[in-house]
């Protein structure tokens, strides 16, 4: 090794000690390098929730008290791991948790919402044709045009309507027939002088742009009118209609998700990809379009998919729509076409079952702590970012702390993934590949 102090000569005994010292320093350096490489190439991820000193909403580990006997802890990661170590520390004088089972699944938490009895239906504003009957979906109900003459008197033609099946019409709640030929019903759409409008409670609400209109509807659904039509109704300029829920927008260097009248900026590209979104679905927005919305806190990996998200089960091919805290199945080809303006988020039905488990064992330190390890390599094939741990207990107990550590085994398969990742990053940073 390079010796910068060879001019300083020690006495023979001290020189020996110096030699041993140098070897020890070198060995220590090599061990540090190995430790660093292990932690960099095979990093572990740690999640902790301290019930005594931490607010649950500020924790990286999600917590849900399903019942007094059932608790769910959610760790969020885009990565795959070899093992998950679960450790729980109970408060003093709590029942023994030895042999209690901890179950694990990997899913998207929004996909794990309960399945609603109701099916997803055609959204408001949709014009539908079933055989010789014509309908408008207005205020959540399907309203039939009383006759073809009514329809023609209002200025519609057959081209404005989307054909649907008998089965699809059966999913909808029926509303009043449209008989008035002088006034348009709610949720009618118009194109006037290049601007799209929706009629709501006797006033016209403009869409902020054509792109915003197309995120909800098809072009042929809007009736083309001249400027005189604007004199007939008041215009609600203060309340522009923006993009559909779940639309992905880009502005400047940010990517945003539209959610209930707000735009949520993604905190990083990894989160975007971890949620299963597709870069091709991003719509470029201008200042006016993005300025319509209030900006919400950043979209971090722990946040569930919002209302309007469509999931597709890769195993059964079924589609599901997230609506509030429920998911609705989207049945019928024509209904699916409406909701599939963006690519669906791919999921696996089997991700909902807790297939991996381990039994808690008492740990020596800290007192009242129990832990177990479970293999998670099989979860690699399942899409999702939420690792949900379920703990069932026969009796109620109070928790002091929960720690979860995900680790990777040093093996050839993991090594290959790491090198592939490094190669991608390397090519990406020199402009030869996809950059995140």
């Amino acid at each position: 090794m390079f010796n910068p102090t060879k001019n300083i000569v020690l006495e023979p005994v001290w020189q020996k000690i110096y030699f041993v010292g140098r070897v020890a320093i070198l060995i220590f350096f090599l061990l540090v390098v190995l430790y660093f490489l292990k932690n960099t190439l095979f990093p572990s991820e740690k999640f902790a929730l301290d019930f005594n000193n931490q607010k649950i909403e500020e924790s990286l580990l999600g917590y849900e008290d399903v019942s007094s006997l059932e608790k769910i802890f959610s760790a969020y990661s885009k990565d795959n791991f070899s093992f998950a170590n679960f450790k729980i520390t109970a408060k003093k004088n709590q029942p023994n948790l030895t042999d209690k089972e901890v179950l694990l699944r990997k899913t998207y938490s929004a996909f794990a919402y309960p399945l609603s009895d109701q099916l997803a239906t055609f959204p408001d504003r949709t014009l539908l044709q079933n055989n010789n009957d014509f309908f408008l979906v207005s205020n959540g109900k399907i309203r039939k045009f009383s006759s073809f003459k009514t329809l023609e008197a209002l200025g519609y033609s057959q081209d404005n309507f989307q054909k649907i099946t008998d089965e699809e019409i059966g999913y909808m709640e029926k509303g009043e027939e449209i008989t008035d030929t002088q006034n348009y019903p709610d949720n009618s759409l118009f194109l006037i002088d290049g601007t799209y409008y929706e009629l709501l409670v006797g006033a016209l609400r403009p869409f902020v742009s054509e792109k915003a209109f197309l995120s909800h509807c098809e072009k042929n659904q809007a009736l083309v009118k001249d400027d005189d039509f604007l004199k007939k109704y008041s215009i609600n300029q203060d309340n522009l209609i923006g993009f559909a829920n779940g639309t992905l927008l880009s502005f400047d260097i940010g990517v945003f998700l539209v959610e209930e009248g707000k735009v949520v900026p993604f905190n990083n590209p990894e989160t975007f990809l971890a949620l299963g979104y597709n870069w091709d679905d991003i719509i470029s927005a201008n200042e006016e379009e993005i300025g319509l919305y209030q900006r919400d806190k950043v979209f971090s990996i722990s946040r569930p998919h919002p209302s309007g998200t469509v999931f597709q089960d890769q195993d059964s091919g079924k589609y599901y729509l997230i609506s509030g805290k429920d998911k609705k199945e989207i049945r019928g080809e024509n209904i699916q076409r409406i909701y599939l303006k963006r690519k669906p988020v791919l999921v696996n039905e089997k991700s909902l079952s807790f297939d991996i488990s381990c039994k808690l064992e008492k740990k020596l330190w800290p007192f009242n702590s129990y832990g177990c390890q479970m293999p998670t390599a099989t979860l690699e094939k399942i899409t999702g970012k939420d690792y949900q741990f379920k703990l069932n207990s026969n009796s109620t107990f109070e928790i002091s702390q929960v720690n979860i550590i995900f680790s990777r085994e040093i093996n050839w398969l993991n090594m290959r993934d790491i090198f592939s990742d490094i190669k991608q990053r390397l090519l990406g940073s020199y402009g030869y590949g996809e950059t995140l």
């Binding site: 010796n3 910068p4 001019n7 300083i8 020690l10 110096y18 960099t40 390397l426 940073s429």
Partner: protein
């Protein structure tokens, strides 16, 4: 401990600290090079502030023991000879890192940066050569 042994011990520590410094610098250069090539990949495990703090701590200890044993002046003579060799190595590494960091720049900012850097280098060269005269 008798004075002679204490002197030998302090010299031993002084020599070992140089080895630690060498390995510390070597590790830091490797880490910075890796970070430059693959941004945000390696520094997740390390803090640059801690690395620099550690470096200063080692340098302080070397200075402290060197002063106590009065080896600094003797060492410096040797160091000046080696400095030119080390300087060449450092210039090559630094140039490679600087050129590598240019990869993300557009052509016009790149030209502007190069012209500005050459101007600074020329001015620096002029000032140092004048002061030597």
């Amino acid at each position: 401990m008798e004075k002679h042994s204490k002197q030998q011990l302090e010299l031993l520590v002084y020599k070992l600290l140089h080895d630690v410094l060498f390995l510390w610098l070597f590790g830091t250069v490797c880490l910075l090079t890796a970070q430059n090539i693959l941004p945000n990949y390696f520094f997740s495990e390390f803090s640059l502030a801690k690395i620099i703090f550690g470096l200063f701590a080692i340098l302080f200890l070397i200075g402290f023991f060197g002063k106590r044993q009065d080896v600094s002046s003797e060492e410096n003579k040797e160091k000046t000879k080696k400095l030119s060799e080390t300087l060449v190595f450092l210039i090559i590494i630094s140039s490679a890192l600087i050129i590598n960091s240019f990869r993300t720049l557009e052509i016009f900012p790149l030209i502007a940066s190069c012209v500005f850097a050459l101007f600074i280098f020329f001015a620096f060269f002029q000032i140092t050569s004048k002061s030597q005269k």
